[in-house]
Symmetry: C2
Subunit: 518 residues, 2 copies
């Protein structure tokens, strides 16, 4: 079992100021700790029996066979025709034999490479990784103000991702750097992710040439040959539910799949609006959409690693807005997990995504309603597990570090209970006997630090102590911790030639690209 408590304590220490320049130099010399891939040692939870999963599978197949799905791109439609699907314009009807034949080509597990190869992770099977959020135009900042995100914020979030040991990825667009024009923004996002952290990162999908720029930057860092075959970047393509894969998404899928880079094929379903008002019905539709996308990637490059996935939220009747931690969102994860296992596909879900505006009790209830399901449903790529507020409109600093600590709890949870020291524990019971206590036993002294999760941000001090420290809620403590971590940040080393080549690439593309879209 990974001694994550020891690792956590190292990073807590990193997060505290003091000791000056020399101490910081020493901290830099020691690499920032990072958890390895989480190998789950607990069984998955099957909420429904296999027959129910087969019913959903059959319904999904019938959707693709009888209703069909749009691939709104001439090249994609032609590829489907060549593969033997029933194509009429952009409408593609795929029979289940062809579909399953293509889906079966996806490897059940792959290694996602980091520029620091000690940060490489495994995706699929019994492995899970934790990935920070993506896509917020706004931030809730270090003073708890909600405002547009900036490149400085994005740099900060990439720093925090690097310093949070339970995060396995830097993500990419944690928040949008809104001051940078859209056609050039991707350059700065990827540059920030690649330089402020050395963990795996995520791509850009908003245009074909932007995806190509991502691959060019990855080639600078990892080597041109390496990125032709080895996964280094995960990108997200959302199906336009119901049943449309549009040209932008298909372009991104083509660029990344041709480079053997995994794409998440994830319908973004607002259940009740872009799906039927039925959890099971929504899953059947989303499954059809995801499978069709996965199958398409195998037309582009058979055997390329891909991620099956979903992002399914219910819609608030009052506001029409997506909700966060609802029981249905949790239940649908279990159905999607069972389907992923049936298809032997690595799969993605979301962990701490909440509707709350604040890092308050609502956020906490929502977050752990979902994360418990993400872990027990056996998800491999557990995304949006740091920073997510307000249905993804906002990246919060306090939420980010709060989530970062909670991930340690979930990491520990998923490793299961240990019987390794059971005999010694039972010997301690004999030693202590009725009405004793265990604090002084050898077993306790040896195991206390590692036996139980000991968070730092969660407060269990006496009321008096907590009052003396300012009666701060978790949100306030989170902001303080984020400030302290950022103050202690030291960048991971990068070869100066590579750093320069990256800067040159960004500068050249900045000159080449227009300042506004269209």
């Amino acid at each position: 079992m990974v001694d994550i408590d020891h690792l956590s304590k190292q990073v807590s220490a990193t997060g505290r100021r003091g000791g000056g320049r020399e101490a910081r130099r020493q901290a830099r010399a020691k690499a920032v700790p990072s958890f390895p891939t989480l190998e789950r040692r607990i069984p998955v939870y099957e909420m429904v029996p296999d027959e129910a999963i087969e019913r959903i599978h059959d319904a999904s197949c019938r959707i693709l066979e009888e209703v069909g799905i749009d691939f709104r791109d001439d090249e994609a439609a032609a590829m489907w025709t060549a593969a033997g699907a029933d194509v009429s314009g952009y409408r593609v009807r795929i029979d289940r034999g062809l579909l399953m034949n293509l889906v079966a080509k996806v490897p059940p597990e792959f290694t996602l490479n980091a520029r620091n190869r000690e940060r490489n992770v495994k995706v699929g099977g019994n492995n899970s990784i934790f990935v920070p959020m993506y896509g917020a135009p706004y931030v809730r900042d270090l003073d708890n103000k909600r405002r547009y995100g900036t490149l400085a914020d994005l740099n900060n979030f990439h720093k925090l991702a690097y310093m949070t040991p339970a995060l396995h990825s830097t993500s990419s667009i944690i928040c949008e750097p809104m001051e940078i024009s859209v056609p050039k923004r991707h350059l700065h996002i990827i540059h920030s992710a690649l330089t402020h952290s050395d963990k795996p990162f995520m791509g850009i999908v908003t245009a074909r040439e932007r995806a190509e720029d991502v691959m060019a930057m990855a080639a600078i860092v990892f080597g041109e040959d390496f990125v032709e075959d080895n996964p280094v970047v995960v990108s997200i393509t959302n199906c336009n539910s119901p049943l449309v894969w549009d040209a932008t998404m298909l372009d991104a899928m083509k660029v990344y799949a041709r480079h053997n880079q995994p794409v998440i094929l994830a319908p973004f379903a607002l259940c009740g609006a872009s799906t039927a008002a039925s959890s099971v019905g929504a899953v059947a539709q989303v499954n059809a959409e995801a499978l069709a996308g996965i199958a398409f990637t195998q037309l582009v490059r058979p055997g390329s690693p891909q991620l099956y996935g979903q992002f399914m939220v219910t819609v608030d009747m009052k506001s029409g807005a997506p909700m966060g931690g609802t029981p249905e969102a949790a239940q649908m994860m279990f159905l999607m997990g069972a389907l992923a296992r049936k298809y032997k596909l690595p799969w993605r879900t979301s962990g701490f995504h909440v509707g709350s505006k604040l890092n308050d009790a609502q956020a906490g209830y929502e977050a752990n309603m979902l994360m418990h399901a993400a872990i027990l449903s056996g998800a491999n790529y557990i995304w949006h597990v740091a920073g997510w507020l307000e249905a993804g409109l906002v990246a919060g600093y306090s939420k980010f570090v709060t989530d970062g600590e909670q991930l340690v709890a979930w990491y520990k949870y998923a490793q299961g209970v240990s019987f390794d020291d059971f005999a010694e524990a039972m010997a301690a019971v004999r030693e202590v006997g009725p009405q004793g206590h265990f604090l002084g036993t050898r077993h306790t002294l040896e195991h206390f630090e590692s036996a139980f999760f000991m968070p730092d941000l969660m407060d269990f001090n006496s009321f008096e102590q907590w009052s003396a420290e300012g009666s701060k809620d978790l949100d306030a403590r989170g902001r303080e911790k984020a400030k302290a971590m950022l103050a202690a940040y030291e960048p991971p080393p990068m070869d100066e030639g590579i750093a320069e080549a990256l800067r040159d690439f960004v500068a050249r593309r900045e000159r080449e690209l227009p300042d506004s879209v269209g």
Copy 2:
């Protein structure tokens, strides 16, 4: 499936002021809605294989056979001697044959009666009930101040328990009425629980004569004959871990078991202090303690209904205080649930118990870390699911109503996903096709309100709307809702003769009992 959304809406309406006296009279005429017993329709989660549970069982048996456990009461020791246990002073060694023989006498399921028999609930098997917290000396009040509890607070909490549809019990000492002297306090606690609500309630265990007073008051309300055989009150006896059942607890067990009233036999384990620093070791010890207590109740009255249970928290290394929603607390629930099923015992765990001082993000993360485990581990009597803050030192008004709404989510979750309208949902997909939306389909119009959990306190409005409403966090919204509910409260009807007899009993016992202990 229970139409809980409809019920929830009724109570939301009850919680809002307006309409004056006539509207209130009408509200009174309609009974306050209340959910029936939750029948879980999802499988339990088995975190470890059966062999692991057998190892724990064997270790527990060896503790009771070889180390033994103290029953610090002469009558109890004599009863164990008569039953054939190996007794030396108060130390009782029980072999597994005798132990299992006694444990097998406990019914796997029983009906817990309420004074309003529509509120009767089933305890055991696939049934779960939700019970508010118990035992706080302090409250966090309607103005978010932390202060000692009063009888007025206790009355309020009993009113809120009555008005919260997903709560199946009124509990009893939600907070302590600190202004009332200890020897007389139990009279007012039970009187408040019995009059302000008509749901099942909980007993008092702090002295034999207090337990007898509880039974006398129950007899006034339910009838003397009825309470000799039919469960109407659940009481909590905590083992003094490690391995001591003290005289006070044994007295309470004797009083209640003789009346066929269920007692929760629940070691209160501070893991790492009163148990070994090992989750599995702690469970083995707590299991031994609980089984020995259960077995004792069957010496008192064979076949009496009882509740196996646990309250296991880890201890904070910094403060020595009990922690709340830790991964180990969740894991230990799964082990205890598997043991309960092995023994065919109804069992109790705790849901929303947290260490947080405030109804903040910490509380939310902690609460749902635990509740998810409570539901999936198949717990029957899910306690401390409303109000609990600060490791049980504080009953919070805002936390109480927040929890009350979250219980609706868990109720819904545990009912599983529905395939009932699957064919119609799939027909809707055909009707809508690619790039449509489902908002206007017949299926959506018919199912939208009931398909998905629609909370009231959780906010999913736009940021602008939320700002216009005062940018309130969940804690603030919870206090407002609690105030509105209390303003709208109307007591459940009670026969005037019974009400008078209860008042007379309290008055008489007030005169008889001393003002201070000793």
